[in-house]
């Protein structure tokens, strides 16, 4: 895990700039992508799904990978974010902020909705994490699963959330730009955590909790904080999701979804943000590609359904094979940017 500063220092940037620079660079790049591809609805849809899964995988990696805990209820926090943001947007979709053109006003409201969704999810993460993170690994898995289910049951029985039918009519404010800016922010956050003393403490907890405690790390508090940050981004992912699909219902946020994200994190390598990125992109695009390929070849839509059905048991077998053959996943705990900085010429450190 390279310190973020190491690379920035190599290039000689002042402190104040380093914080904000990446986002400033990202905005035009993603903006360009939006301008080029924004009119192709299929591309936007696929890219949005990929982006959402990326955010989920990278955020789950903070808890499951960096901290070495085992949370399998991520979809629950996604649901909280989706429903909260969706509800907010439904109530406010007719509002227009003065002095702003309608489109921009919508985006501002959208941002608000996302942040509200994210913060609510973070709060749930706090409530769930505080008692559970004291428990041993296997128990934590069951408890997080349980909370995911409880959230689903609550959503299913609450009138205000539309029960089993869910919420419809959420304004479709999302865009390629929004999804990918947030994906970028998530990756940036994960990277900054990993390169900071907080990230090191999380890794220490993963490596040896007893030793970490003995070195002054409040392990429970750190685990909770990692959980809160991770839940925040899951909520953001949910919020984004709610604004590019026509309906959200509890069925979109089941245990299956949680496991899908777990597979991505494990396959990419527990602890590797790069791995989570690669795995989430690959594992989201692959079934889509197969589906399109099979439909094109055979000409009927039934094959597409088949692909979906087979995807699930294959995920299961994938997990098993992965654990037997290469448990460290694709990248282990390494990052691409651990390798790249060696290619940038650096000032030699003073001996």
């Amino acid at each position: 895990m390279q310190s973020v500063q190491a690379t920035a220092k190599a290039v000689g940037l002042p402190y104040g700039v380093r914080g904000i620079l990446p986002i400033l660079l990202a905005i035009p790049v993603i903006g360009l992508a939006q301008w080029l591809l924004g009119d192709l609805p299929f591309v936007v849809y696929i890219a949005s799904i990929v982006g959402v899964n990326l955010i989920l995988a990278v955020s789950l990696n903070i808890v499951n990978g960096m901290t070495g805990q085992f949370s399998i209820g991520h979809a629950g926090f996604m649901a909280v974010g989706a429903y909260t943001a969706g509800k907010f947007s439904l109530q406010s979709k007719d509002l227009v902020i003065s002095h702003l053109p309608a489109a921009m006003s919508d985006q501002v409201l959208f941002l608000f909705a996302l942040l509200i969704g994210g913060c609510t999810a973070a709060l749930c993460g706090f409530i769930v994490g505080l008692p559970s993170l004291r428990l041993r690994g296997d128990y934590l898995a069951i408890v997080t699963l349980g909370f995911g289910e409880i959230i689903r049951v609550i959503l299913q029985s609450t009138e205000a959330f539309g029960r089993a039918l869910g919420l419809a009519g959420i304004p479709q404010w999302s865009s390629l730009f929004m999804v990918w800016i947030w994906a970028f922010i998530t990756v940036l956050a994960a990277r900054r955590i990993a390169g900071s003393s907080h990230g090191r403490s999380l890794w220490a907890i993963r490596e040896d909790e007893v030793a970490a405690e003995a070195m002054g790390v409040d392990t429970t508090a750190y685990k909770v904080r990692a959980f809160v940050v991770s839940s925040f981004f899951a909520g953001i992912a949910g919020g984004l999701f709610a604004h590019f699909v026509p309906i959200i219902n509890p069925g979109s946020f089941t245990f299956v979804k949680s496991i899908e994200v777990v597979v991505m994190v494990v396959a990419g390598g527990l602890g590797s943000t790069t791995g989570a990125i690669v795995a989430s992109i690959f594992l989201t695009l692959l079934p889509e590609a197969l589906r399109s390929a099979f439909t094109a070849i055979s000409g009927n839509a039934e094959i597409a359904q088949r692909v979906d059905q087979i995807r699930m048991p294959i995920y299961g077998l994938l997990l098993v094979t992965l654990m037997l053959v290469r448990p460290q996943g694709l990248f282990g705990n390494r990052e691409l940017w651990d390798v790249i900085p060696r290619w940038i010429p650096r000032r030699r450190r003073a001996a």
Binding site: I193, H198, E213
Partner: protein, 300 residues
């Protein structure tokens, strides 16, 4: 007299029916170098575990830097100034040497609400203790935010941290291993890294659990010199568990001997060396019967 950094009064712990440690007493002042020896299973590591908060004593009291710490969590006791190494090395194996030390060098500044203000709140009594803890969490969350936003203050602090960690590595002779993963280090260097890491927590008292285990004679004598140097350089009080009795006798001013959880001797090396009970514990009482010269020494 220098201040008392660690005081243990009649510490006892039972595990079910097993009395692992009985009526253990200890006092460590600044500048002390004391030893804890005893046959295998005598309770030495258990004593360490009680002192550092891994176990809670069944009875007795432990005071670190004047504060009563029975039942406190290990990280709290560490913050008060007690650091340790482990009998079976417990480094963060996948982290580099410098990262191992950096984890221990946690930042001390409270970015949002200062420590003095928190203490003032706590002193107001009643539930304000909980309020102070809550506000301290705010400190922690704000620190995470600073990490995410990469504020200049945060970056400077990280650099300070890194410099301190590098300094410690240099002192322990590990500067050349800075970016090496801990699991790849040779055994002797791993032990030294554990000590460097413990020092990162700015301790007042250092507990070393068999720091010389597995080392050859030369390494052991180097370690002896190093321990004394550390004591002087950092104004520490040090307690060492060791099996190499010669090493302990060589550097420690006072030695406590445990056997089956009980303290069977306590005093300067010469006194302990010829204590009858100590000889019996290590060599068996038949030894005294068959070796009259040892019997003589014991009686004196």
């Amino acid at each position: 007299m220098s201040e008392v950094l660690l005081r243990v009064e009649q510490a006892t712990i039972h595990f079910g029916g097993l009395k692992a440690l009985s009526n253990f007493n200890l006092e460590i002042r600044r500048g002390d170098l004391k030893g804890l020896i005893g046959p295998n299973g005598a309770g030495k590591t258990t004593a360490f575990n009680i002192l550092t908060g891994v176990y809670r004593p069944t009875s007795g009291n432990i005071f670190v830097a004047g504060q009563w710490v029975n039942g406190a969590k290990p990280h709290q006791i560490n913050r008060l100034g007690l650091a340790r190494t482990f009998q079976n090395i417990r480094l963060f194996r996948a982290l580099t040497a410098i990262d191992n030390v950096r984890v221990a060098c946690l930042a001390e500044a409270s970015p949002l609400i200062s420590a003095e203000r928190l203490d003032a709140i706590r002193r107001m009594g009643g539930l304000t203790g909980r309020l102070a803890n809550l506000l301290d969490s705010a400190n922690d969350y704000y620190d995470w935010w600073r990490a995410l936003a990469l504020t200049p203050g945060f970056q400077r602090e990280e650099e300070r941290l890194t410099r301190r960690a590098e300094e410690l590595l240099k002192i322990m002779g590990l500067a050349h291993r800075r970016d090496e993963e801990a699991r790849n280090l040779p055994y002797g260097e791993q032990r030294r890294l554990e000590i460097a890491r413990a020092l990162g927590t700015r301790p007042k008292v250092l507990l070393l659990d068999e720091p010389a285990a597995g080392m050859n004679t030369r390494e052991k004598s180097e370690l002896m010199v190093l321990i004394r140097q550390l004591r002087d350089q950092f104004s520490l009080g040090i307690l060492v568990i060791e099996h190499d009795v010669r090493l302990i006798m060589g550097i420690c001013e006072e030695i406590t001997v445990l056997d089956y959880g009980e303290t069977i001797a306590c005093g300067p090396p010469e006194k302990v060396r010829s204590d009858r009970r100590v000889i019996e514990a290590y060599l068996g009482d038949s030894y005294l019967d068959t070796h009259p010269e040892a019997e003589q020494a014991a009686r004196r």
